[in-house]
Symmetry: C2
Subunit: 144 residues, 2 copies
């Protein structure tokens, strides 16, 4: 089964480089609110992005299998970090996925994929903190 590897190299201060074989390097850093530099991806954003990105990958897989034709798909992810008695923790992650399909029948079928995403997305299923997932589907002529 696949293994996923990355390397973090400290560059001084609160800045690092994130690298993986065959991928462009990514400048990352501690979040500015914890003393890090501005303008770099933070591990926290990579974490939320990995959850939203993996849910979208999972959606694309099931949509293809269901022969659903998407014309657009976006996912907004938000993760709340809070102080708990054990230290800083992500206490909830919300992901809202919106897809655009051809007609109402396809929209209904697209909405029906939600539970499979929750169950089969390997990243979100590997988390302890609750992930709240919304999946909305509209047709090309509609506005949400």
């Amino acid at each position: 089964m696949p293994e996923y590897r990355t390397t973090v190299t400290w560059e001084g201060g609160k800045s690092c480089r994130l690298s993986a074989d065959g991928r462009p390097d990514l400048a990352i850093g501690t979040p500015p609110e914890f003393g890090g530099p501005e303008g770099r991806w933070t591990p926290e954003e990579c974490f939320i992005g990995s959850i939203a990105g993996c849910l979208v990958s999972t959606l694309l897989f099931f949509a293809e299998r269901a022969k659903l034709t998407l014309s657009a798909c976006t996912a907004d992810g938000a993760g709340l970090m809070e102080k708990t008695s054990e230290g800083l923790r992500f206490t909830r992650v919300d992901v809202r996925i919106g897809v655009t399909v051809a007609d109402h029948a396809e929209a209904e079928r697209a909405r029906g994929l939600r539970d499979r995403l929750e169950r089969y997305c390997p990243v979100s299923a590997s988390l302890r903190c609750p992930v709240s997932l919304e999946l909305s589907a509209t047709t090309a002529g509609e506005t949400e």
Copy 2:
């Protein structure tokens, strides 16, 4: 407390764009072994990178508080994805951090930070899958 937000926008095929306010967009995609394109960051790598990156951020925080002067720090993260009865899951994540410090006394103190990283890294503490963390410390004149 801080909230971390990212957006995933599907670009066709198995390719997406990952964006966050004030950060450069990142081209991501389903892993090649699941039909995605070559050369893009995958959500799975972002996930492992977020864990390794957050552990390094946490280390930098505690090293500063302990007045430890690092001359180098790298972290290698690897996550194993396996088929389980519930579907694909990350069944283990291994992170090996190596730091270089000035002398043996500092190396000893650096190694002593390990348990605090495990306890206080907000990303790795938010996971259900086990994270195995190694922290080694060498002095500038040494090779590991």
